[in-house]
């Protein structure tokens, strides 16, 4: 049973979240669900068993709910910057028109509980777990949940065999879904999910510094230059206004992975490295002066945010890896309770 249908909260999100949390608790306490329509909680007698983990069916229910909410609802921090962008655009322009449709779409998707965007994207799971956690079992359950979510229409049939062109129809296949495990010193399991569409993935870029044509050297100013070049090259093709996740350094593979993980940060956080915090701010401000605007129609908002981190590099290499996220910035996360229920939403 879904531990929580995410409340349709708006500005009063925190208060709403608390209420919801309570609601979860109360539902969870009732051993036999009142709505026996769906599958009843298996452990009516499980009060005494304090197994960390609960049943597989409960876990699957929680994961499917995570996928549903991620696909249909934008997190509050993202909605906030989109509304600000709408306010900023001049009235009666195509940019304002685009932002208005975007706003209407966010509201409608939530109301109808249907995919915000038909491209439900690469399904990227990030699992944070305690020591001694069974990754292969969890992988299998994530896969089952993805199949289920696809059947329910929360995810589009989006996984294609690169050699034959055949669509698996269930979003499984080599590399799909993408699952990243991170062990941490905690007792609970946290699962974050990001759905990243193909349009924005296609405008991602990786630069190797120095870059002669752009006059970009191996320093933060060089980094700034290549990022702005990527923003310009993307134009409206990544469904802007977008958000950048960036990694300075690393090898080519690690750089791209880290750049995506930067997109797990809340838009309103502040980078703990002052020089990167400054760079993030500057990239957004300068990009918004380029006049690319929503959908590339021209206008005042080209970027909604930018998040940067740095990995060590080899003396010979200096990569800047850029992941572009569209305005339909679908990310959510859950913390699992001891019965595999959704104990807490992370965004």
């Amino acid at each position: 049973m879904a531990m929580k249908k995410k409340p349709m909260k708006k500005a009063a999100k925190k208060a709403a979240k608390k209420v919801a949390k309570k609601a979860v608790k109360t539902t969870a306490k009732k051993p036999v669900a009142k709505k026996a329509v769906k599958k009843p909680i298996k452990k009516a007698t499980a009060k005494t068993t304090k197994i960390v983990g609960g049943s597989d069916a409960d876990l699957k229910t929680s994961l499917v709910e995570l996928i549903r909410v991620t696909s249909a609802e934008l997190p509050d921090d993202v909605q906030k910057v989109i509304l600000e962008a709408l306010e900023r655009e001049e009235k009666n322009t195509t940019a304002e028109y685009a932002m208005n449709i975007i706003k209407a779409n966010i509201d409608l998707a939530k109301k109808k509980s249907q995919p915000l965007c038909q491209d439900t994207g690469t399904v990227l799971f990030y699992v944070y777990h305690p020591v001694g956690f069974n990754q292969s079992k969890f992988t299998k359950l994530i896969q089952d949940s993805v199949v289920e979510a696809t059947k329910k229409g929360y995810l589009r049939q989006n996984s294609v065999d690169s050699l034959t062109g055949e669509n698996s129809g269930v979003n499984l296949g080599p590399g799909h879904p993408s699952i990243h495990f991170h062990e941490y010193n905690g007792a609970s399991v946290k699962v974050k999910l990001m759905l990243k569409g193909g349009g924005c993935e296609n405008v991602g870029a990786q630069y190797s510094l120095p870059h002669t044509a752009l006059g970009a050297g191996r320093d933060l100013d060089g980094v700034r230059k290549v990022i702005l070049d990527a923003v310009h090259k993307a134009q409206g093709k990544g469904c802007g206004p977008g958000v950048l996740g960036i990694c300075i350094g690393g090898d080519r593979g690690a750089g791209y992975i880290e750049s995506k993980e930067q997109l797990l940060r809340r838009l309103d956080d502040t980078n703990s490295v002052p020089s990167l915090a400054e760079l993030e701010k500057e990239i957004v401000e300068t990009s918004n002066k380029l006049g690319i605007g929503p959908m590339g129609f021209g206008g005042k908002t080209t970027l909604l945010g930018c998040k940067v981190s740095a990995l060590n590099r080899l003396p010979a290499s200096f990569f800047v890896s850029i992941s572009y996220m569209c305005w339909a910035y679908r990310r959510q996360g859950i913390e699992l309770g001891d019965k595999n229920q959704i104990k807490k939403w992370l965004y």
Binding site: L108, P115, C117, D119, G197, L214, D229, G236, C239
Partner: protein
């Protein structure tokens, strides 16, 4: 706000200019990467596309198990530039009056628009729910062997909202924004 109603004609789309916000009512045929490649390879389309509009879209479709009826649950545009190698030829060979997509297209398509009397309509990328609401019915599906997102879905729409970003007179908003933003970029590098 302008309106474009079915049956579409080359004359009607020639009237449209870059920057026009248009509501389209009538029929749309989805067609994206695999469809364009197949058409370009010379396979005859399963339906007559003359005077029709192709929509670059891979919708989320659910089929009612009992009735077999299809329902579109999400249907925003996909990135159009991938069809750049094919689009102008598809305009020429099959007589379409326009395409709907996102992100804009390049010089080859722009020249095609001018020569064959076509328009590029930009739908709002990611707005899958608002756009799906404008779809009244799924009338047919063709080439389902390409997979659901890549098939040709025949859709009836009412007041489907788009912006003309490339017209039949050689104007492209994308070329203009690209040029202006390149100049602005130069200033800040």
């Amino acid at each position: 706000m302008k309106k474009l109603n079915f049956p579409f004609t080359h004359e009607a789309v020639r009237e449209l200019k870059v920057g026009d916000m248009v509501l389209i009512t009538g029929k749309l045929f989805t067609g994206r990467d695999a469809v364009h490649k197949r058409l370009h390879d010379g396979v005859k389309p399963p339906v007559d596309l003359s005077n029709q509009i192709i929509y670059h879209c891979g919708p989320v479709i659910l089929q009612d198990k009992k009735t077999g009826k299809y329902q579109v649950t999400a249907a925003g545009p996909t990135t159009s530039i991938r069809e750049e190698p094919y689009q102008a030829d598809v305009m020429k060979d099959y007589g379409i009056v326009g395409v709907i997509g996102k992100g804009g297209m390049g010089p080859k398509t722009l020249a095609g628009c001018k020569e064959y009397g076509c328009v590029y309509f930009h739908a709002i990328g990611g707005a899958a729910q608002v756009l799906a609401e404008k779809i009244d019915s799924v009338d047919a599906v063709h080439w389902l062997d390409l997979g659901s997102p890549e098939a040709i879905w025949e859709l009836s729409v009412t007041e489907f909202p788009v912006v003309v970003t490339m017209d039949a007179h050689g104007n492209s908003l994308h070329a203009e924004v690209e040029k202006n933003s390149a100049a602005a970029l130069k200033e800040v590098l």
